[in-house]
């Protein structure tokens, strides 16, 4: 059997996963759709929707995004297959996209199959990340426009067929019929079944108004959950292909260590060992079985140079300030110093945020089959098209040789090891000429992933005699290295780097050029300033004297986007500081927020959260108490990226001053993310983000010694377990049926740190400015305040 054919046949499990994921049983599927079962042998599917299909490398010409056939195919029996470039990461997007297509195309969900992220058959929609999937696919473009185009194309075809004007026709339940005479109708299958549309996407195709929605906007249960809870769903971790071997990587023992030599004799005769693979400082062991690969990799004698050394973790925040930096001025009214000098009082504070990790529960996994006539990669990458290019670079092959097929992975929350492990598998498969599966060891996942960025943030404001903010100055230092590999930087992640590629260049730049237009830049500027650049207000606040300046320095560790990248760190600093200012001027923190905001939607979520929480107007902190357990409440809010969702949160906490333990007892969240695609899905995301935020605020921090990362498992990096303390949570959803769709996966998490910190302050009078708020830190801060007599 030819290799190409073999790999294509391996599409069968994913075909099954696709329709199990789409909510169909296999039997039901085969019965109902002879046509589509054929399409699942990828080659014919690709041919049917109009692309050349090569070997397993596939699709030399890519998938043209402007053609309707790239997005929607209709079989003779009326079943619809839709193709999307945005994937399911656990955020419920598969179901929401299925709802979208079914709605716009007027078909029942059960008649739809949605295929996601395969470089040979789905359009390139970039990275599934950054709360951008709803903006991309649920507004006036992407999948929404494709489905609307398809519906209009079907209506036009029916007009010709039935010989009536399109105005007299309506698409309902998979048929187009006369509005006045439902008996005169024609089914989609009859209109285009098995053929291509052969038309461009119609940029003017009309979306269905949300008042007519019957599927979108409803709490449709997630189509993939039955398959998940019964283990029918296929994760990338479950992909098994014929002749597959198992690889284990051997990473350098210290940051900056490079390979001197590998003594292959050290594992000679160990059972199942197939090959030791070395490329620059990349070392891997391939064996017949996973346990054999693990044991052999553990025994392999490898010599490394010493590491390049790491800055002392104590004092590392101050160290960031001393490094050469790339500076960016987001906004500068030019009068901040003068306004501060003339203010009735000045308030200052510095906030610290550590490196944190994505810490997926499942360590990252990929399967690669590298052959001379084509390369197939199964990966949980957030960007299959980009991974195609970087894999080719790592292997010294051309992009067109590579096909990357998305398989769901362990929730990633940003760039976990999904891309790097694809390179691991590819390098090892290339060396042995057989398919190789690699799943990273826990320590290799944790010590080498792309962490969320550490931040030092200096805040200063001036307030006038009435307590109103008259000037706000923000200056931050953060450290970064590498990031997403994108289409051309495999060295941005660990494997690409050890295999010989460099991370994207770092170019210091001081001073920053003046901004030419307002960019939210991850909520660098607080919500309370007006964000005036080039005569236009980009922000949502009232403060006119404003400056926001960032310094990016080079990190010793790889970094990358982690759920609400930088927005979370910035919001922690802004919303904690706002609370400090409110205390200083003796204002209620909720009222004080709205006093400095112009945006009604942000004010609405603030008021909704306050109302639901039963927020009573008063000053923080509460009077001094010597109770065994202190209670307090805190508030925080944000307009994410100014206009990509609005959130407010009220938190109730308990603090034990003698142990320093903080328990969050209740959270109220109000959120507005535009028109709601699926209220329960949105709620699930907001809840998950909030709890994730609690864990990150109270426990999570990457630690290191003078050579290496020491947070390498769940004893050295902490996460609240399912049996741990989680609060009662109430979610208030504000729907905006006529608004634009916004991202919501990163919305609730941004406000958690400040809401908790503000609540701890309310309870204890002690301000915590460094995350995580570990018991040791809380206890020490309270003890210090009591010794000083300030509490």
């Amino acid at each position: 059997m030819k290799p190409a054919r073999r790999t294509i046949l391996k599409m069968t499990p994913d075909a099954r996963a696709a329709f199990v994921n789409a909510g169909f049983t296999r039997r039901g599927f085969i019965k109902s759709s002879g046509a589509l079962i054929v399409t699942f042998s990828a080659a014919s599917l690709a041919a049917r929707v109009g692309f050349a299909q090569g070997g397993p490398g596939g699709a030399p010409s890519g998938v043209p995004v402007d053609r309707l056939d790239s997005w929607i195919a209709i079989a003779a029996d009326g079943r619809v297959t839709a193709y999307t470039g945005k994937c399911e990461l656990g955020q419920g997007l598969f179901t929401a996209q299925a709802q979208l297509v079914a709605e716009e195309l007027s078909i029942p969900l059960s008649r739809l199959t949605l295929l996601q992220c395969d470089t040979s058959i789905t359009p390139d929609q970039g990275t599934t990340s950054g709360a951008q999937s709803h903006p991309t696919n649920f507004n006036a473009g992407g999948l929404a426009l494709a489905a609307a185009s398809a519906r209009e194309a079907l209506v036009k075809l029916a007009a010709t067929r039935l010989n009536v004007p399109v105005e007299q026709l309506v698409a309902v339940d998979g048929v187009v019929r006369l509005t006045t005479d439902p008996s005169r109708s024609v089914g989609y299958g009859e209109l285009v079944g098995g053929r291509k549309f052969e038309v461009a996407i119609d940029k003017n195709a009309k979306r269905k108004p949300s008042r007519d929605w019957t599927i979108l906007g409803k709490p449709v249960p997630r189509l993939d959950i039955p398959g998940l809870v019964t283990a029918e769903a296929e994760f990338v971790h479950n992909v098994r292909v014929d002749g597959m071997l198992h690889g284990r990587v051997v990473r350098p023992p210290a940051v900056g260590a490079t390979l001197i030599s590998v003594d292959e004799a050290s594992i000679a005769g160990m059972p199942g060992v197939v090959r030791v693979v070395v490329k620059n400082s990349f070392v891997g062991v391939v064996a017949e079985k996973p346990w054999q690969a693990i044991q052999a990799a553990g025994k392999l004698a490898v010599k490394w140079t010493p590491g390049t050394g790491l800055p002392n973790q104590r004092g590392s925040y101050e160290y960031l300030r001393t490094l050469p930096s790339r500076d960016t001025l987001v906004v500068d009214s030019g009068d901040v110093e003068a306004k501060l000098a003339g203010a009735a009082s000045i308030i200052k504070a510095t906030y610290l945020y550590p490196y944190q990790m994505h810490g997926s529960v499942g360590s990252s996994c990929a399967v690669a089959d590298v052959r001379s006539d084509g390369i197939t990669i199964y990966a949980a990458s957030q960007n299959v098209h980009a991974l195609r290019g970087t894999t080719a670079m790592v292997l010294g092959r051309v992009r067109d040789d590579v096909r990357v097929i998305f398989r769901r992975g362990s929730g990633c929350y940003g760039i976990n090891g999904a891309d790097t492990v694809a390179f691991d598998a590819a390098l090892m498969s290339q060396a042995v000429g057989r398919p190789v599966r690699v799943q990273l060891a826990r320590k290799d996942e944790m010590a080498w992933e792309n962490y969320g960025l550490p931040f030092v943030i200096d805040q200063r404001v001036g307030v006038d005699a009435s307590g109103t903010i008259v000037a706000w100055d923000y200056e931050a230092w953060s450290a970064a290295r590498g990031g997403r590999p994108g289409g051309g930087n495999p060295g941005n992640v660990a494997t690409g780097f050890v295999a010989g590629f460099q991370p994207g260049a770092f170019a210091p730049r001081t001073p920053s050029p003046a901004p030419t237009q307002f960019v939210a830049d991850n909520n660098t500027a607080p919500a309370y300033v007006r964000g005036r650049v080039a005569g236009k207000d980009g922000g949502v606040g009232t403060v006119q004297s404003e400056r926001a300046l960032t310094h990016r320095v080079l990190s010793p560790f790889f970094t990358g986007p982690l759920r609400a990248p930088e927005r979370l760190q910035n919001t922690f600093a802004h919303e904690s500081f706002l609370d400090e200012i409110a205390t200083h001027v003796k204002a209620d923190p909720v009222e004080y927020r709205t006093r400095h905001l112009t945006d009604q939607r942000l004010k609405d979520v603030i008021n909704a959260a306050a109302r639901t929480a039963g927020w009573e107007r008063r000053l923080s902190p509460k009077p001094v108490s010597r109770d065994r357990v202190l209670t307090g409440r805190g508030f925080a809010s944000q307009a994410c990226e100014v206009d990509n969702s609005y959130v407010a949160m009220a938190a109730d906490v308990e603090v034990n001053p003698s142990t320093g333990a903080v328990v969050v007892k209740r959270l109220v969240i109000a959120a507005d993310a535009g028109p709601i695609s699926n209220p329960d899905g949105l709620k699930n995301q907001l809840e998950g983000g909030a709890f994730h935020g609690i864990s990150r605020t109270l426990l999570e921090e990457v630690t290191w010694d003078d050579q290496k990362v020491t947070a390498v498992d769940w004893r050295t990096y902490h996460s609240i377990p399912v049996g741990g303390d989680i609060p009662h949570i109430e979610v208030v959803l504000i729907n905006q049926p006529a608004g634009k769709a916004m991202g919501a996966g990163e919305t609730s998490i941004v406000v958690v740190g400040a809401a908790i910190g503000n609540a701890i302050f309310d309870a204890t009078g002690v301000r915590l400015r460094e995350v995580p708020f570990t018991p040791e830190r809380v206890k020490a801060a309270i003890a210090a305040a009591r010794t000083l007599g300030t509490r």
């Binding site: 993939d224 039955p226 998940l228 809870v229 283990a231 929730g411 826990r442």
Partner: protein
């Protein structure tokens, strides 16, 4: 070495190194999708299987220690067409995000409630104290488990 394992009601004879953790036998030799490698250190629960009525971390359980005990994995409970009532409770509560961790919460809760149908909330929390979900679906999972527990004792 040849070994016979009873998994999800069927006998399987496999040829494995007896030191191999049960997880690899289940997921690679038997091709099961339920138990998954998360940490390999007994710290997260995604490899959970029920062995002889107890929830165990299959990543840190040598296959040789299983003997003739009955092994149940997530797929051994039910199917998407006929889910086990506990799986059904997870579906009803929509208690999953990525779903990778699910062997941990579902099988830990099942083993507990099989042994002690009247388990208290504190018992349930205790049984899940070593189970991680990094999507933080905690509240829905606990709600699903309680719903199932209440349904059985009602």
């Amino acid at each position: 070495m040849m070994m016979t394992l009873k998994v999800n009601g069927r006998s399987h004879t496999v040829d494995v190194d007896p030191t191999t953790p049960l997880l690899y036998v289940l997921s690679d030799d038997l091709g099961l999708r339920g138990p998954k490698f998360g940490c390999g250190l007994g710290q997260c629960g995604s490899c959970t299987a029920i062995v002889g009525g107890r929830a165990v971390r299959s990543c840190s359980t040598p296959v040789s220690s299983v003997g003739s005990a009955e092994v149940v994995t997530l797929e051994g409970l039910g199917t998407s067409e006929k889910p086990h009532p506990l799986q059904k409770a997870f579906i009803d509560e929509q208690a999953a995000q990525c779903g990778f961790c699910l062997s941990g919460p579902i099988l830990s809760a099942k083993a507990l409630l099989d042994r002690n149908p009247k388990a208290s909330d504190a018992d349930i929390k205790q049984a899940l104290s070593g189970v991680l979900c990094r999507c933080f679906t905690h509240q829905r999972m606990i709600a699903a488990i309680k719903k199932y527990a209440d349904g059985r004792t009602a």
